[in-house]
Amino acid sequence: MSEDKKINEFLYFALRNKKLRIGLFIVLFFLILTFIGPMLAQNDPFDYVNPGGAEPPSSEYLFGTTFFGQDVFAQFVYGLRATFLVGLLGGGIGTLIGVLIGFTAGYRGGIVDELLNMLTNIILVIPVLAVLLIIAAYLEVRTILIECMIIGLTAWPWTARAIRAQTFSLRTREFVDLARLSGMKSSKVIFTEIAPNMMSYLVMAFILQFGGAILNAATLDFIGLGPTNAISLGLMMQVAVLWGALQLGSWWWFVPPGLAITAIVGALYVMNVGLDEVFNPKLREM
């Protein structure tokens, strides 16, 4: 079978999957919003545009304004951009480290595995939030990039464990032996036999890391340890709560960012389930 045909078949099943379609639709919707949103927003997210202070949504301010008279819609779309950046970078770093460590440990086995496993376990038992707090608190100026690094560097152990287990089980599968018996070189065995089986795992690990990073960032932002020079959805909620939006009933201030985070992370998880069905030929027919 040719490569194109394989991809076509994959796309066919991917596009037919309802879960994947719904998830993808929601994520794409928000992703597109991050691009065209800033064009639609007439105001800078930090400008105090409405001298009247907090006001509910109106035709002038689509999502209303904050206690300080800032445009919530502008903050929302810029914040969304930060959220996707954190997901992409933070989740990306987490996935990359996790995959490298997990794959090496699982494929090499023996002493290498034991050492890497030990490292993974150590990182795993360190209370991540506490470390994040300390690191974040030490840095005077925090950029989104630094936040991504912090999140990525602490989130990889679960991925590493999952990938290690998967590699380990694949490596001992008889089709790998059979490929060797077919005279394949080790590198070819890894790339043509093991890696394709890992693809679904990789994509899914990334999706989970992506969602996890967004949630982690929101937590950090919410407790006031987010970036100092940018806006994000978590930061919006933090400021809203700090200035009594809950008590004042300014729901338009914290509902959009909260809803967006929930929707994106939820959609990612739904996509994850859908992808599982697409990648596994056995589940396709159901």
Binding site: M1, G110, I111, E114, R173, E174, F175, D177, L178, A179, R180, L181, S182, G183, M184, E193, P196, N197, F279, N280, P281, K282
Partner: protein
């Protein structure tokens, strides 16, 4: 054709490899041209490990395996590939022998890519088709399907067809029957028998003694990684000498005779190589002498036993 000489496999176990686990200990036997040898043993006997060492899927800890006079552990690159042109394996679990995300016939494509890049696609497809017919498969029914859409028997035949395409001299068949249904087993066994009559040598690894008898001229009985008894099939089956072989023969459920009264030891097996006879712990007739490892001695023509008790009786 194939000769194993004091082959051992030791694994390091425990934290940082503190302990040795002897999966296979000093196993020597050979398989002649066009001969079928059954390698019989229970779980943990090391039979699969031996098969994998012959196929160069596991490194040998000590000892040598020679194929046509060449030490196979020295083969590298093109030589190893040449070895695989002559020696192939089929494994127990047909389902795990296939990469689940690819169609089952990809197996043949790989073979063509690796071994016969010079053969044209059309010609290769014809070869594949005739090999499929040789193993009793209807190509139209089974080609272009995912592994999970085929039955265990079909998958197993695929694997044998794959070996046939290579025109091999030696086949390691590791429990290839046990996952099949009773009415299909005999077909695969007969297929192996036919191949043998065409000159193929087979190492038939099994735990089922009646299957072993049907197809092989010689049998090797393994216990805890060591050879307990080996020789001509009739001698092993009808005149077992080693207490383990005797117990095994008495416990096999047969369709033509009922179980004899034998005491079966239900204690868990622990293969600990303490230097003595590996069967010491479970042996009903073990004596002091058995604290030393018994050598494998030819007690009659083509019948080898590793048991002190028997040596004493004949001394």
């Amino acid at each position: 054709m194939l000769e194993l000489d004091r082959v051992s496999k030791t694994y390091k176990v425990g934290t940082f490899g503190g302990k040795d686990l002897h999966a296979v200990m000093n196993v020597s036997f050979n398989v002649g041209d066009g001969e079928v040898v059954s390698l019989i043993g229970e779980s943990g006997s090391g039979k699969t490990t031996i098969g994998k060492m012959i196929l160069r899927l596991l490194p040998i800890t000590s000892g040598t395996i020679q194929f046509d006079g060449v030490d196979i552990s020295t083969l590298e690159g093109a030589e190893l590939k040449d070895y695989y042109r002559k020696v192939q394996g089929v494994f127990q679990d047909p389902f795990s022998s296939y990469n689940p995300i690819f169609k089952a016939d990809r197996l043949f494509k790989i073979l063509q890519e690796e071994f016969y890049p010079e053969i044209k696609n059309q010609e290769w497809d014809d070869k594949v088709e005739s090999a499929m017919k040789d193993v009793g498969l209807n190509p139209n029914e089974v080609l272009n399907k995912f592994p999970h859409q085929l039955s265990g028997g079909q998958l197993q035949r695929f694997l044998i067809a794959r070996a046939l395409l290579l025109d091999i001299k030696f086949l390691v068949a590791d429990e290839i029957i046990s996952m099949l249904d009773a009415s299909r087993r005999i077909d695969v066994l007969n297929l192996l028998a036919d191949l043998k009559s065409l000159g193929l040598s087979i190492l038939f690894i099994t735990h089922d003694l009646s299957l072993g008898y049907y197809i092989s001229e010689r049998a090797v009985i393994l216990y805890g990684g060591s050879v307990a008894e080996m020789g001509a099939t009739e001698k092993i089956y009808f005149n077992p000498i080693h207490p383990y072989s005797q117990m095994l023969m008495a416990c096999v459920p047969r369709l033509d005779q009922e179980w004899e009264e034998v005491d079966v030891d239900l204690r868990g097996k622990q293969f600990e190589h303490t230097g003595g006879c590996i069967y010491f712990e479970r042996c009903p007739i073990a004596g002091n002498k058995c604290l030393d490892e018994p050598p494998l001695i030819e007690i009659e023509e083509d019948h080898f036993v590793a048991c002190w008790k028997d040596f004493e009786e004949n001394a």
